[in-house]
C-alpha cells in the first residue's frame, strides 16, 4: 500500500512542475515582448 505513495507524489510533482514551467514560459514571453516594444519605441524616437 505504501508503495503507492511514490505514484501519488509523482503525479502531484509532475502536475505542479508542468504548471510552474508554463508560468515561467509565459513570463519569458512577456519579457521578450517588452524588449521588442522597447526596441520599436527606441527606433521611433530615433526616426522623429
Amino acid at each position: 500500500m505504501d508503495d503507492n505513495l511514490g505514484y501519488l507524489f509523482a503525479a502531484f510533482a509532475v502536475t505542479w512542475l508542468a504548471i510552474a514551467g508554463y508560468l515561467l514560459y509565459i513570463g519569458q514571453q512577456v519579457k521578450g515582448l517588452r524588449d521588442e516594444m522597447q526596441l520599436l519605441d527606441d527606433g521611433d524616437d530615433a526616426a522623429t
Binding site: 505504501d2 508503495d3 503507492n4 505514484y7 509532475v14 508542468a18 504548471i19 514571453q29 515582448l33
Partner: protein
C-alpha cells in the same frame, strides 16, 4: 489617463484572480492529502483522482473554448476570437498532457500497466494529437490568415472528440471506470471526497481562467506588434520618418489594451 486607470483596475482584478487561485488550490491540496479519507481498495494512489479529474475537466473546457473561438473566427473573421482559440489550445495541450501522465501514474499501481489501448485512453490521446495538429497547421500554413483559418477548421472538427471521450466508457467496454460524479443517479462517492474534488475543480478552473487572461494579453500584444512591424516595413520611407507607426501598444504587456 483613462486608459491607464482601466489598465490598473484590470491588473488589480487579474492579481486578485491569481491570489484567489492560489488560496483555493492550497485548500484543495490540503483537503486532498489531509481531509479526504484513503480509499480502502486503492490506498494512497486514489488521491491522484484529485488532480487527474480536474486535468481532464480542463482539457474538455480548453477544447470547448477552442471550439467557440474557432466558430467565432470562421463566422466574423475576428482576430480576438482567433486569439481566444489559440490561447486555449496551448492550455489544452498542457492539460491534456497532464491528464495522460497522471492517468498513467494512477493506472500503473491499479491496473498494473502504464498504458492500455482502450477507448477512454485512446480517445484522450487523439485529443492530444488534435492540439498538436492545431499548432502544426498554423506553423506550416504559410501566412497568418490562412493558418488561423485551417486551425479554426481543425478546432471545430476536433471538438467532436470531447463528447466521444466522455461517452467512451459507456459506449464501449473499457478498463477506465464509468463517471462517478456525473452519474445519472447522482455523485457516487463519499461527501468528503466529493467536497475535496469540487474544491480542486474550482481551484484548477480558476487557474485556467488566470492563465487564459495572461495568455490572451500576450497574444494581443504580439498581434499588435506584428501589425506595427508590418506597417513600418511596407510604409513609404517618407511616412516612416514623418509619422509614428500605427497600432500604439501599451508599454505594460500585462495591461495590454484590447482591440
Amino acid at each position: 489617463m483613462m486608459q491607464r486607470n482601466s489598465t490598473n483596475r484590470s491588473d488589480m482584478l487579474v492579481m486578485g484572480l491569481g491570489l484567489l487561485t492560489v488560496a483555493v488550490l492550497t485548500l484543495g491540496i490540503f483537503m486532498a492529502f489531509v481531509y479526504a479519507p484513503s480509499d480502502l481498495a486503492q490506498g494512497n494512489a486514489q488521491r491522484i483522482f484529485y488532480v487527474h479529474v480536474p486535468m481532464a475537466w480542463l482539457a474538455y473546457l480548453a477544447m470547448a473554448v477552442v471550439f467557440v473561438g474557432s466558430v467565432g473566427y470562421m463566422w466574423k473573421r475576428s482576430a480576438r476570437m482567433d486569439r481566444l482559440a489559440r490561447s486555449s489550445a496551448e492550455l489544452g495541450f498542457l492539460f491534456t498532457t497532464l491528464v495522460l501522465i497522471t492517468g498513467s501514474l494512477w493506472g500503473r499501481p491499479i491496473w498494473n500497466a502504464w498504458w492500455q489501448w482502450e477507448a477512454r485512453l485512446t480517445t484522450t490521446l487523439i485529443l492530444w494529437f488534435i492540439f498538436i495538429g492545431y499548432f502544426m497547421v498554423r506553423a506550416y500554413a504559410g501566412d497568418r490568415e490562412r493558418g488561423a483559418r485551417y486551425a479554426a477548421v481543425l478546432g471545430i472538427i476536433g471538438a467532436i472528440d470531447v463528447p466521444i471521450i466522455h461517452q467512451s466508457v459507456t459506449w464501449w467496454r473499457t478498463l477506465h471506470p464509468e463517471p462517478i460524479v456525473l452519474d445519472t443517479g447522482g455523485p457516487n462517492l463519499p461527501d468528503s471526497m466529493l467536497a475535496t474534488l469540487l474544491v480542486c475543480l474550482a481551484g484548477f478552473t480558476l487557474l485556467y481562467a488566470y492563465l487564459m487572461v495572461q495568455k490572451t494579453r500576450i497574444e494581443t500584444v504580439r498581434d499588435a506588434l506584428a501589425e506595427r512591424e508590418l506597417t513600418a516595413l511596407f510604409a513609404p520611407e517618407s511616412e516612416t520618418l514623418d509619422r509614428r507607426p500605427v497600432a500604439p501598444v501599451s508599454r505594460n504587456v500585462s495591461g495590454a489594451a484590447e482591440d
